[in-house]
């Protein structure tokens, strides 16, 4: 059998396994979310279907799929059906560059547990890891906007349209700080390959969350906004927009939106783990334990997402935009500049210096941003925007 066939077979198996694992994360996430939120709200949560209600998501999914698939009469017949897929496919593809484990050696072949990862066969057969790994991942995550805009537009419903516009504007706005926040770790690792980022963290002997704390905070914030999760879940602000861009969708297509949201959340968490929490490495270098470490760290983030949703109120739309453009982006750029300067002039003590500057920067940013947001949103409230778009209240009339 030629080596290329073996290579493709191994990659195929790996792809299937990773995709399957990823997909099972979705029902698990749904269960986790319901349980944790219930706990936060002092309820019990799902507890009837299966042990601890574990089979509840499957029952939900079955119920959802068996419902009638409705297409509104005025909907765009071509775009309406494919919009959920446009959201779902990039969400799935983005995992291809994330390493969930290190180098595995079987006989004379060795490869990383990463779909687009490195592969070494006998007789010098060598496929390197994708060069522009993180670029591809960011590019794919930015494709999700299409699904949202098109779903909102093609539903021929003003709530859907507004929801779609809001949510896509939000995703576009937060893509920038999200990308820039990742440049800090990339500079430290001096590579765009995610595997190298993981290795760099073990070489430095420290997770990048410490020297890149500012980047981490921005990433977490932008990531939450990017996947439209609470407290940035404005597109689904029920009291204003019914259900946002997926108001009209039902049955399996609705399920796809749901899955895409959870998949994106898992992907963002996986990126956070890779960039800031040392990826698949922990304590030992035993290869077969690495995916487990990865999974554990992933759980941590997923729990964090649910925790944030359970405890934070939704922000207002102008606050959201102010936070994105006036706080996150400048802060991410300052962090990038500091990282670059430190690496250029004191490369030996980079970690120490960066840790100190991170603490200083985050302190300044905390007080500065709360002032900045309050000021800018006050200004918005006073400006023509509020006068034209908000209904006149009793107080203002008096």
């Amino acid at each position: 059998m030629p080596e290329i066939v073996i290579f493709l077979l191994i990659k195929l198996v790996m792809t299937i396994v990773i995709f399957a694992l990823w997909m099972t994360m979705v029902p698990f996430m749904i269960w986790l979310e319901r349980k944790v939120i219930a706990d936060i709200q002092i309820r019990i949560g799902p507890n009837r279907v299966g042990p601890f209600g574990l089979l509840q998501p499957i029952a939900d999914a079955l119920k959802l799929i068996m419902k009638e698939d409705i297409t509104p009469a005025k909907a765009d017949k071509l775009i309406y059906p494919i919009a959920p897929a446009l959201l779902m496919v990039p969400a799935l593809l983005a995992i291809a560059v994330i390493p969930i484990g290190g180098m595995v050696t079987i006989g004379e072949r060795s490869f990383t547990l990463q779909i687009m990862g490195e592969y070494r066969g006998p007789n010098g057969f060598f496929v390197p890891e994708l060069d522009a790994g993180i670029l591809l991942s960011l590019a794919l995550s930015s494709l999700g906007v299409y699904g949202v805009v098109l779903a909102g537009w093609s539903s021929a419903n003003k709530y859907s349209l507004l929801g779609g516009m809001r949510s896509s504007a939000q995703m576009l706005s937060y893509e920038l700080p999200l990308g820039v926040a990742l440049v800090g770790p990339l500079l430290l690792a001096s590579s765009l390959r995610l595997n190298e980022v993981v290795n760099a963290q073990s070489n430095f002997g420290i997770w990048f969350i410490i020297p890149q704390f500012v980047g981490f905070i921005i990433f977490l914030m932008s990531g939450t906004a990017e996947v439209n999760r609470a407290p940035f879940d404005l597109p689904e602000a029920e009291q204003e927009l019914i259900g946002g861009y997926h108001t009209e969708y039902s049955s399996f297509r609705f399920a796809m939106f749901f899955m895409a949201e959870y998949l994106n959340m898992v992907t963002i968490s996986a990126l956070a783990v890779t960039f800031f929490l040392g990826g698949y490495r922990l304590f030992t270098d035993i290869v077969w334990l690495q995916p487990i470490w990865f999974a554990l760290k992933l759980m941590l983030f997923l729990y964090l997402f649910v925790w944030i949703r359970g405890t934070w109120p939704r922000v207002r739309y102008d606050q959201l935009m102010a936070l994105g453009w006036k706080v996150s982006l400048p802060l991410a750029l300052v962090n990038l500049a500091i990282t670059a300067i430190v690496l250029a002039y004191v490369p030996k003590r980079a970690v120490l210096v960066l840790t100190i500057t991170s603490i200083v920067l985050i302190t300044i940013a905390y007080y500065g941003s709360s002032y900045n947001i309050r000021r800018s949103t006050d200004m918005t409230a006073r400006s023509g925007y509020a006068r034209r778009h908000l209904p006149e209240s009793e107080e203002t009339r008096i």
Binding site: K74, D76, L78, I79, L130, D131, A132, L135, L136, L138, A139, L140, S142, L143, V145, Y146, V149, L150, G152, W153, A156, L161, G164, M165, S168, A169, L172, E175, S191, L192, G384
Partner: protein, 173 residues
């Protein structure tokens, strides 16, 4: 042409790119046109991958698909009259324009085909074989010989942003 994996992939991607491009300029619904523009750009990114230019492909996705076409979609969706409007993409000058387009295409195509088939060295710029990390090469090029164009590009973006704000800002009350 022999059937290799490369050729099959090339023809598939090229066919997708060209077909989508034709849809872009013929469909009566402008939003669908924009959607197919996205597929065209994705196809171009695929061609870059086949040419071993992964970074360029990722950039193509990030910029053209992830940003430019999204903005086009935004503009369409925000323009209310376009919702469901059917437009014709041809004008009175379609014959003249078509002739001009075909002539230009024929000229460029024959130029390239004739000189490539002769195997002449009409194309002086050979794709550089990346000796080291191609990303590192790009980075070094940007900051050393091309630092001025790089900075100038950022100023162009600044001008464009200021200009966009000037045009779009609300009037003083």
């Amino acid at each position: 042409m022999e059937i290799t994996g490369y050729n099959v992939a090339f023809i598939a991607i090229a066919a997708m790119t060209v077909t989508s491009a034709i849809f872009v300029v013929t469909l009566p619904n402008i939003l669908r046109s924009a959607l197919f523009l996205m597929f065209t750009f994705i196809g171009v990114a695929g061609l870059y991958v086949l040419a071993n230019a992964e970074i360029l492909a990722a950039m193509q996705l990030l910029i053209y698909v992830g940003a430019i076409t999204v903005l086009i979609l935004f503009a369409i969706v925000l323009t209310q009259q376009l919702m469901g409007a059917r437009i014709t993409q041809t004008s009175r000058n379609i014959v003249l324009g078509g002739v001009a387009a075909i002539a230009v295409f024929a000229f460029i195509a024959t130029t390239f085909v004739s000189h490539f088939s002769k195997g002449s060295d009409m194309i002086a710029a050979q794709p550089a074989v990346p000796t080291s990390d191609p990303l590192l090469m790009i980075a070094k090029m940007l900051i050393q010989p091309y630092v001025l164009p790089f900075e100038l590009a950022s100023f162009i973006l600044l001008v464009a942003m200021v200009g966009a704000i000037v045009i779009a800002k609300e009037d003083k009350d």
